[in-house]
């Protein structure tokens, strides 16, 4: 009888074991679809993408809880409808205006450095910095963690995403980075043209030819599918720079006036332009590259102090028309 009971209990245990093993445990892996022709994306091994992690990251991205007075979220300066950038030249932080224009958050999963000066070496690192920036969010990570830990929803969401209710700055930034890696823009009219699905207009085709030849020579910095080379250039905006850009990070005189190339995807919606938002329209930008470059010791050879494109009005208009083919309205609604 005792032996029968032992066998029964063992059998029940096995049944329960089988039952419980069929219930999925842990966060759900998320397979990121890489658009055709895009480079492979390096996703950090210690931050694999999951459905729950992305959902949590999205909630955090739009939640002003990260700032000291709960007035500024990531999305306050990176507005989806403005190509995840800011229509203001300098964004409003908790303590005034930021020092540079907010870069668009588009296809950042392919970027190994972020910010205009490249001070962040990963998407996670980029997400870490604004919280403790005195102007932007003015908060300490310890306080952010305390607020999230006390929140009625977040502890449970962190359990779902990372299998722990103990929240940390590391996990917050990992979640935001997971969400940001999903912000992929790849369905513009240009992409459809490349896929053979549509034709461009005559004007857009002229713009494309100017863009991708040394006539206007945009493509060397705004390369291929990403429309950024992820490098730093002094484009001749000024003869002397008060904001020295990349040099602030490298401390190298050869980097004075260099700023990271922003993507041109959705550029129609990411005005104003340049690191200081000095140009309000694409026409102004093209006029600058046409004849406005200022000489300096670090001006990029791709620009050249003496280089003048001398574009006709027709060519300038064609370039603008082509740039607008990079707009991806569905992306903006994310």
């Amino acid at each position: 009888m005792i032996r029968f009971l032992q066998i029964s209990i063992l059998g029940l245990g096995l049944l329960l074991g089988c039952d419980s093993s069929s219930v999925p445990s842990g966060p759900t892996p998320f397979e990121l679809i890489i658009p055709n022709g895009f480079p492979d994306m390096d996703i950090p091994a210690d931050n694999p993408m999951t459905v729950e992690g992305i959902e949590l990251g999205k909630k955090l991205f739009f939640d002003p809880i990260l700032s000291i007075d709960s007035t500024v979220a990531c999305a306050s300066c990176h507005l989806p409808e403005d190509a995840f950038s800011d229509p203001l030249a300098f964004s409003n932080g908790v303590a005034g205006k930021t020092g540079r224009n907010s870069m668009p958050i588009i296809n950042v999963g392919w970027m190994n450095t972020l910010f205009w000066d490249g001070r962040a070496l990963s998407v996670e690192d980029q997400a870490l910095q604004p919280v403790e920036n005195e102007v932007e969010m003015g908060e300490s990570w310890d306080n952010v963690v305390r607020k999230l830990q006390r929140h009625p929803d977040y502890p449970e969401l962190f359990v779902a995403a990372f299998e722990t209710s103990i929240i940390s700055a590391d996990l917050v930034t990992k979640a935001i980075a997971q969400y940001e890696r999903t912000l992929i823009s790849s369905n513009s009219r240009y992409d459809q043209f490349r896929a053979g699905a549509i034709e461009l207009t005559e004007q857009e085709n002229l713009g494309l030819e100017l863009f991708f030849t040394e006539r206007a020579d945009c493509f060397h910095c705004h390369s291929t599918r990403l429309f950024t080379d992820n490098r730093y250039h002094n484009t001749g905006l000024d003869e002397f720079y008060t904001d020295t850009g990349r040099a602030e990070i490298t401390q190298s005189a050869s980097d004075v006036g260099k700023f990271k190339t922003p993507t041109l995807r959705n550029v129609e919606f990411s005005a104003p332009y340049m690191h200081d938002g000095r140009f309000e329209t694409l026409d102004e930008v093209i006029s600058f590259y046409d004849t406005g470059a200022q000489p300096s010791e670090t001006i990029d050879p791709l620009i050249g102090a003496n280089r003048r494109l001398n574009l006709t009005e027709e060519e300038k208009a064609a370039l603008v028309a082509f740039l607008k083919t990079l707009s991806d309205p569905k992306f903006l609604s994310q």
């Binding site: 291929t224 992820n230 000489p295 050879p301 791709l302 050249g304 102090a305 280089r307």
Partner: protein
């Protein structure tokens, strides 16, 4: 009896040991063994390592110049042995002077033998030069040679072979971008002589790109005439001819 058995056992053991040692000597250790070969790339001007952005150099036609960017692609990198056989070290390699991670490649196993040269194609030849053929990385993405550049067939995007950029004179700039143009692909094969007798060692071969040679022999390069050359078939032809003397062996060491 016991003593005799012990003696016999000792004799057998000694014989076995002797045979084992002799066997190793006769049949094992003297056999040539494979090793590895890695390539270490560097750029020089005037026989000295290039210093990006800083040092001012002199071109053959008298221009002061500095270099801001050097990146290039090598393909079909191989060692040639004394019988003319090729041993492949790498199918393709991208080098960016600014990124030390791209300066060393290879490290693959190579059979024992006497090797007489290092061979490769500068750039990406002919039908291989179709955008998307190389590894799908942002480095290769940045080397895109757009579809609009004249190639003759107008078919598709390709790859730059080299981007060599800098400044000259008071406020001049040059952008020597090498690649296909006007129906010619302008890649070229290079053979760098060396003497490597490989037998089990791990070799490190230094391949030097002498940047100043791009600017001379046989064609002295005037930045004022050729500051940007992508769509210029004649200029691509001139720079290709200069390329013949650009690469030399820096060192050949056992690591």
């Amino acid at each position: 009896m016991k003593l005799t058995y012990q003696k016999a056992s000792a004799a057998i053991l000694a014989t076995l040991l002797l045979l084992t040692v002799a066997g190793c000597s006769l049949f094992g250790s003297d056999d040539p063994e494979p090793g590895t070969v890695q390539i270490e790339l560097s750029s020089h001007i005037g026989g000295q390592p290039l210093v990006l952005n800083q040092t001012s150099y002199m071109s053959p036609v008298g221009h002061d110049f500095s270099v801001t960017l050097v990146e290039y692609i090598l393909t079909n990198v191989a060692l040639r042995d004394e019988n003319g056989n090729l041993v492949r070290l790498a199918d393709v390699h991208y080098c960016n002077e600014e990124n030390p991670d791209t300066h060393v490649f290879g490290g693959v196993e190579v059979p024992a033998g006497k090797y007489t040269s290092l061979t490769f194609t500068f750039g990406v030849s002919g039908q291989e030069n179709v955008f998307g053929n190389l590894a799908n990385t942002t480095d290769f993405d940045n080397m895109m040679w757009p579809m609009m550049m004249p190639m003759g067939d107008g078919a598709t995007e390709r790859y730059h072979y080299m981007r060599f950029e800098g400044r000259y004179g008071v406020d001049g700039a040059f952008r020597i971008h090498v690649g296909p143009s006007g129906g010619s692909d302008f890649s070229f094969d290079v053979e760098v002589p060396l003497e490597v007798d490989l037998d089990g060692e791990d070799w490190n071969l230094g391949l030097v790109m002498n940047l100043d040679q791009w600017l001379t022999e046989p064609n002295d390069w005037d930045f004022a005439d050729y500051s940007m050359i992508m769509g210029n078939q004649a200029a691509q032809s001139l720079i290709q001819a200069n390329g013949a003397s650009v690469f030399t062996l820096g060192h050949a060491n056992v690591r």
